[in-house]
Symmetry: C2
Amino acid sequence: MSNVPNVNSFEFLAASCKALSHPARLEILQTLALRGTCICGEIVDVMPLSQATVSQHLKVLKDAGLISWENDGQKSCYCINNETIRVLREKIEGLFGSLDNCC
Amino acid sequence: MSNVPNVNSFEFLAASCKALSHPARLEILQTLALRGTCICGEIVDVMPLSQATVSQHLKVLKDAGLISWENDGQKSCYCINNETIRVLREKIEGLFGSLDNCC
DNA sequence: ATCGTTTATCGTCGATATACGATATAAGTA
DNA sequence: TACTTATATCGTATATCGACGATAAACGAT
């Protein structure tokens, strides 16, 4: 949890949701969720966006801590950061989990 | 579900996350989750923002379908739209639910 | 060393978000 | 009818986003 930014208060949840607030980034996450791991080029191939734009979206996800990456030679290997996703899901359940039975 | 906008594809999830992507709006939702129902003025009193700004945030949440409201005389009564929240949580689980065991 | 490949970053620009004061609207009250 | 209260909207200023071409940086291959 120490490597997850801004875990407390609403800052973390707001920042995470902001990172999730673009369809292209959700598509990237889905791709990573399905494949486990992707090099940048694979993601670019899947997306109808320029390499620069995809790289920018990857950076947003990276900065939010939602994905991790490591260099494999000249390639960049991305995967979902499960710890952050876990905390995110917890926060969402914490906020909305009590609503099931009301209204 | 018919009154929930853009339920299919990532558009709904992205739009919902965008609405959730500001700490002030999360605080509004938390207040509503705790109290069940609030008139606008109660929310304004809780927030360190101007009435105009709070009203604008409420509009964002309203437009995203995350909250409902009805007029009570000259007052506006807001509450969480549980149906949208339910769909939202489903979509998030759909995207990330399979990650529990990996990496 | 030079060249091609892969990825990240820069610079730019139109669009959108955020905040607030001012104002409009609508409902209750004297 | 005037006055107050409650809320929404308008107008505006500033900041951030999202897209892309151009370029930089790092690596592998010849």
